[in-house]
Symmetry: C2
Subunit: 418 residues, 2 copies
Amino acid sequence: MTRPRAAIVVTGSELVRGERSDLNGPFYAREALALGLQPARLIIVGDDAMELEDALREGMGADVCLVSGGLGPTHDDRTVELVARVAGRPLVVDEALEERIEHVSRTVAERLGRPYADFAAGVRKQATIPEGALVIGLAGTAPGLVVDTGSCVTVVLPGPPGELQRLWPGAVASAPLQRVLSSTERPGRRVLRFYGTSESAVARALAEAGGDGGGVEATICARDFEIHVDLIVEPGAETRADVLADAIAAPIASYLFARDERTVEEIVLERCRARGLTLAVAESCTGGLVAARLTSVPGSSDVFRGGIVAYGDDVKARQLGVAEDVLRACGAVSAEVAAAMAHGARERLHADLAVAVTGIAGPGGGSDEKPVGLVHFHAAGPGGDEALRFELPGDRAWIRARSAVAALHLVRRLLERG
Amino acid sequence: MTRPRAAIVVTGSELVRGERSDLNGPFYAREALALGLQPARLIIVGDDAMELEDALREGMGADVCLVSGGLGPTHDDRTVELVARVAGRPLVVDEALEERIEHVSRTVAERLGRPYADFAAGVRKQATIPEGALVIGLAGTAPGLVVDTGSCVTVVLPGPPGELQRLWPGAVASAPLQRVLSSTERPGRRVLRFYGTSESAVARALAEAGGDGGGVEATICARDFEIHVDLIVEPGAETRADVLADAIAAPIASYLFARDERTVEEIVLERCRARGLTLAVAESCTGGLVAARLTSVPGSSDVFRGGIVAYGDDVKARQLGVAEDVLRACGAVSAEVAAAMAHGARERLHADLAVAVTGIAGPGGGSDEKPVGLVHFHAAGPGGDEALRFELPGDRAWIRARSAVAALHLVRRLLERG
């Protein structure tokens, strides 16, 4: 099926300078895809009027154009004016809108102890919109708008991601966007999540399964040290998608850990919860990253007991009970110390399972025998232990992030073992 | 000064679908800005040939076009072919390049136990480049290229960010890019970092200082719960920039914590190190985020002793020595428990300073008296204590991230106090 094309235009000087990563483009893209649109292009420009007008002209050549940013009260904020120009619509002051914005501004003026007169020009500016535009809500003093030219429906929302996401459902519900959406169907989706294998091995499995096509589009993506396969499924191709997913998974089944979008920390916590087990961590080089990932999950407190970040050797000894002679004989980065840390965390934090990480994240601290990137892992539970040793390439941030993921997957494996 | 315009074209299906955030666009943009180019536009497209060709045509209308992705061995990887078409150059097989790629591929074939014949077509494809293109290095089997049409210098690098960043210096050093760079000067830069004030208060300070202009361009950006002011300074405007920076800072000086790009965790660790102090943390709702930020800094191990992530109440009691009757009487989320956690961490981890966080990150666990978003902080050091109570809006991830930043700034404040 030919899907309506969606273009995304994001404006923000700090974005085009690379000072901040854009969150609105990916949000719009995911939403467009899920609604049955074809996200075709994402354009990021600064507040230069010519660049922005060019980008809008290009974006509004699509069936749907999703715009973020440039809606503020000052003269630098030109998005609405330029959307009107590209749409060939005059600008008009919407009086009902002006009243609503004035109300918000008076409250702000009062709080800041400034005269309302300071705000009046900005209020009028923000209430000036393309003739016939729908106002779908306010974010502070900035209105969200839907402009329908017949050939393109343009959605204009404010740049702060929370505000944009709050106003978005109103844009989706608007009559112009509903008209476009009625011509398309939402695609289905199948996902496969692998850990421990390579992107090219998964690509080979896809090719040997016959590849995508026939209403199923596959993306293979290395993400957060896992390999994520996403199948976008046209209506009618559901059976082919299921057969393809099974065929991809078959030769690399031992690496498959999920057929849904749960993260590894969610899977670990759910498996623990189902079996009534509690969990603790002991971290050296990951310095809290494993605990932070586990506690990012709402409701983790019924499974996760806590963690010890043991950076100093004496902290490993005192807080985790690692024997001083083991530390001396084997060194802090060793299989023996990883095991002692895991057992210590189980015991000290009264947890059924514990996982420990100790390694050299660099850039300093390496030696010939124990280079930067050497990391030992140990998971201990009521049914036994799992241990792992990695020599990882990469810089400090990469080694730490990679190690946190490895620790979580080690616990998952221990839980799968029974 | 009019700077050469740089456009950035990033290709990747998973990027245009919002499944992954693009890192290459912001990298290219920051580099372009620092080199004295004007980053004007960033375009993200999938692997659809028409979309990519359009984007390249637009991008190659700039003085410099920086391209990432689509360099692989398969027919979906069309970047090089389309750059040649837009540049009006025929495609030719570079035989020296083919030999280099063949060498890499034979090694891979051997390791995978596959016949080299499987790879030959891909090798030839990757060695086929626009006539006259400079090869600036290989990432695996993908060459990085510089294509000079006279009106535009196009740099084509592979999509994996590590590879792109590794090959980038070779592109900068190439004669065509050096020619463009010789017509421009690198801008200067001044930065101000505020914490505890709002974006609009900083915008007001900028306006009252006379605003930017006259060779100084200002961006104000709320980032990681701080307000970052960046001044981009044209050659000759250095004095004006220094005067402007001082004038912006003056009315909000109590919120200014840095005039350089160090993060708050770097500042905290450096101040501790300078005074010979060690540091520990005790975390409940932040669940390891404070420790993870501190340990992200290379060399933090000489200051940072470790941390206790005390999720369970009995962990707070046993590992941090919080008195059970205080926990019962005040509840785990209270100023009293935050103080006891900080003092416990100091004592148990033998640290000079400690900071503690305890709060309700939600979505569950709130009550009328102690709503979701209530967070208590306590920092304790040899010279005294600092305490703080927040009621934060937002979701779990936001409350946790915001609290981790607040904890780090609380330690900074304690250290500033002397």
